[in-house]
Symmetry: C2
């Protein structure tokens, strides 16, 4: 199966490392997963015989540009998408305002006869229906397990293992950065600013942390769940959003005394989509610590099902991307 | 898709109720799921135009025998398996010593050109390889999500959503009865016998509770996980088993004081299969209460993934059986 990776930041390189490390395992259990194209903001490279992944990672990490890789044709990203290949993996940075350039990459991939796997929240929370419709029109597979919860199984779990269930609601912690900050504030009785600074020093929070701590990242994810799992037709504008900036250690202490903790919870059901700091009973399965993510499904047959996993990290995210790639492999090689 | 249900106890009837209640939903989203045959210990009935599920449930609950159902041919179970149909659902009572009659039912189903879904631990923990080999030989699909953890997603989750991961170990609470008893002992500071009696009065523990409280049920389940998920070739004889009879409220209190609780844990990795009462940190995601089940996977890419769900109950178990049926439907209708 020939793969083109668009975006060669931490996630793209994480996937390349995993594909390199697992190449024997994949060949033995499925078949050859061959990366024939890679792109970053400097442009794209293509070699139909396959790209040397270790060399590509080295070139990118040393020079900052994948186009400095030798032994491959250089071209624009949109031309790269037109080259021969089976699957495009879209992992450029998420833009929650325009969805671009990922949206164009994904649509063009379908039009150029390629299946798509993405971890990119932007297009999914802004133009979900257009993407699904285009995939169907061109009879292509579209999978995006990595877009919500990193390595935590959620979208494919709901669509496959919970198939046949009506899903009434999904609530959970879908952002590891805010969970880390709130956990630190609780455990060390420190204020928000101090916990945020610590998270930034550890690389858990970004220099501009707004997308996480103001709840936008969680909002994008519950929109994806609403559309992909519950069959709704929502965008990020439909979400009522409140972040964690105003949570104090005193508020957490007060909650603790009554047997609760405070978490930034995303909550979606047929009536509403909400992101806000929420009191969670200490012994609830939703009370997970550190950067962990958690989601609880309420369904008609299985009743409550909870999943917990690592929401971020290049290797963890690659786990979700790889499971999508394997699923496409099984489908197209039948 | 034509379905034959073998076993019409609580699980078989639960599935019939779910198929009846969901018939519109299934027709709309997939296709017609038509039950053409049902069997219990009194024998089998078959009607190629479909069996009236509400009437079948009524007959069974009023008279104890499905063979009192009118409008269908009566026959032996082994003859029923030979009739036309796509899938056999094997849900007769689990026998962990011989695996029968389920083992014969499953093998005969494959030989008679039928896919199989089962919730039956007996054959899976005693003759897993024979079953898998026979399914392959006759090119039939074999699924058994309901055999471990009821509605808790576990087998298909590991094989699909975690595809590509190496799974190092699986540990968890896989028996709701023992979890209920230990939870009661902890919360109400009562002894084992009192908690067991209460569980029996509520129908959570059976009159002969040995299979649950002595750890056999958990052992059967970790054997299934070892074989199905980790590719091992184990039987229940390979499991070191210790039950919960000797746990005292004092032991639990002592554990609590140090920040732990006591749970009956099944633990499988490449080196060993163990079932035994285990100290679990109070804040571990493995500390789930009541009759809930939980499993934690340790993997190379996704790292730790935890799932929590209802381990028993006719409707909950039907959720897992239904998702297997839907997966087979999608596969054969392509």
């Amino acid at each position: 199966m020939d793969i083109i990776i668009l975006g060669f930041g931490v996630i793209g390189r994480g996937l390349a490392k995993v594909l390199y490390n697992k190449s024997d395992y994949l060949s033995k259990n499925y078949g050859k997963f061959n990366v024939v194209g890679i792109a970053d903001s400097s442009g794209g490279i293509y070699n139909k015989d396959g790209i040397d992944l270790l060399k590509a990672i080295e070139v990118k990490e040393k020079t900052g540009k994948i186009t400095n890789y030798k032994d491959a044709k250089k071209m624009d990203i949109l031309d790269l998408i037109k080259e021969d290949g089976d699957v495009v993996v879209e992992v450029t940075p998420s833009n929650l305002e325009t969805g671009e350039p990922a949206n164009t990459h994904i649509i063009e991939s379908f039009k150029n006869d390629k299946h798509v796997v993405t971890a990119n929240k932007g297009p999914l929370c802004l133009c979900f229906n257009e993407l699904i419709t285009t995939a169907k029109k061109y009879n292509k597979i579209f999978r995006f397990e990595a877009s919500v919860g990193g390595a935590m199984p959620i979208i494919n779990l709901a669509k496959e293992t919970l198939a046949g269930n009506e899903i009434y609601s999904i609530i959970g912690i879908l952002n590891g950065t805010t969970n880390y900050i709130l956990t630190k504030m609780e455990e060390e009785k420190i204020d928000f600013e101090t916990a945020l600074k610590e998270a930034q020093e550890l690389g858990i929070a970004e220099t501009n942390p707004s997308q996480d701590i103001d709840g936008l990242d969680t909002a994008a994810k519950i929109v994806i769940l609403a559309n992909a799992i519950m069959g709704l037709n929502k965008t990020i504008k439909d979400v009522k959003i409140k972040g964690i900036r105003r949570i104090t250690p005193e508020a957490i202490l007060l909650a603790n005394k009554r047997g609760y903790t405070i978490k930034l919870i995303g909550n979606v059901n047929r009536k509403k989509l909400i992101v806000e700091p929420t009191l969670i009973p200490k012994y609830s399965p939703l009370n997970v610590k550190g950067t962990l993510n958690v989601a609880m499904f309420e369904t008609d047959l299985a009743k409550e099902v909870v999943v917990v996993g690592r929401g971020a990290g290049p290797i963890e995210t690659s786990s979700a991307i790889l499971s999508d790639l394997i699923s496409i492999y099984k489908e197209i090689k039948k």
